[in-house]
Amino acid sequence: MKLQDPRPSKWLLFRIWASVGLQSFGGGASTTFLIQRAFIEKHRWLSMEEFMYFWNLCVLTPGINLVALTVLIGKKLGGVWGIVVSLAGLLLPSAAITCLLAATFLQVENIAAVQAVLRGVIPATGGIMLIVGLNFALPLIRRSYKEGVLYLLASGVLMIACALAIILLKLSVIIVILGAILLGALFFSPGRGSPLPEDEEEQGEQQ
């Protein structure tokens, strides 16, 4: 596949990112799909290999992986201004709608009918939070399982220890995360000659 000359106008770049942002519901997977369709398939400014390389860098970056991906693609297609218009396109329209929804919610919150609906929704959000947590944990548990019982056990102990540290000891979340990083570096560092073959596959599932 021949790549097109990646020099889109800033306005076009903004519009593409805005449409990606506004069309992606349910986050993660659908946004990634839209980005691939727009930049790799439709405009051919990016190859799949480049995309995967960018994505791996984004997984290492703190914060929202998709925002980091936007930064990298924006930089490639338009330098510093490419980053600015890409971020603005992805985030501003969606953020404005989020604000509007939140504002509308505050307006109607106290109406009796809405209160009744909310009583049903609150258990649902509990369920959503649970699924969010499971989505984080399951790929890791599966990966640890592939790596052997010792890893599985260590991952389990680490997860439970972090939960206990936060709930019982009331430790700061940040300290717990830093501790996990340290323990992870000590414990999971693969020995020489045994790289983690499933690494990329699992990273793709994270968001």
Partner: protein, 111 residues
Amino acid sequence: MINPLIYFLLFLKASLFSTGGFSNLPSLHQDLLANGWAKESYFGQSIAIGQISPGPNGLWVISLGYFTYGIAGAALALIAITLPALLVLVISAGYTRIEQRTWVQGAMHGV
């Protein structure tokens, strides 16, 4: 009273030590409640709104910002989730140099 600077730094800290859209939740939950700047119910509602609104899931923080501190809160939250992503430029510059070290892979696994 909400101190805008500390408020912003709390959001920035949560985002800086998270990966993905939701993992800043525990840190924000802990800090905002400790300061009395948020109600427990805001968190579930923000996540629900984040799910129905378009854009990356991480934008749930924007409704949390709106609930706790109005438009200013939403704007500060937006900046706080955008800034850490710029670190990807630093990482992409340095990545090839550290890629081979095994402790990096171990550290990622621990997170």
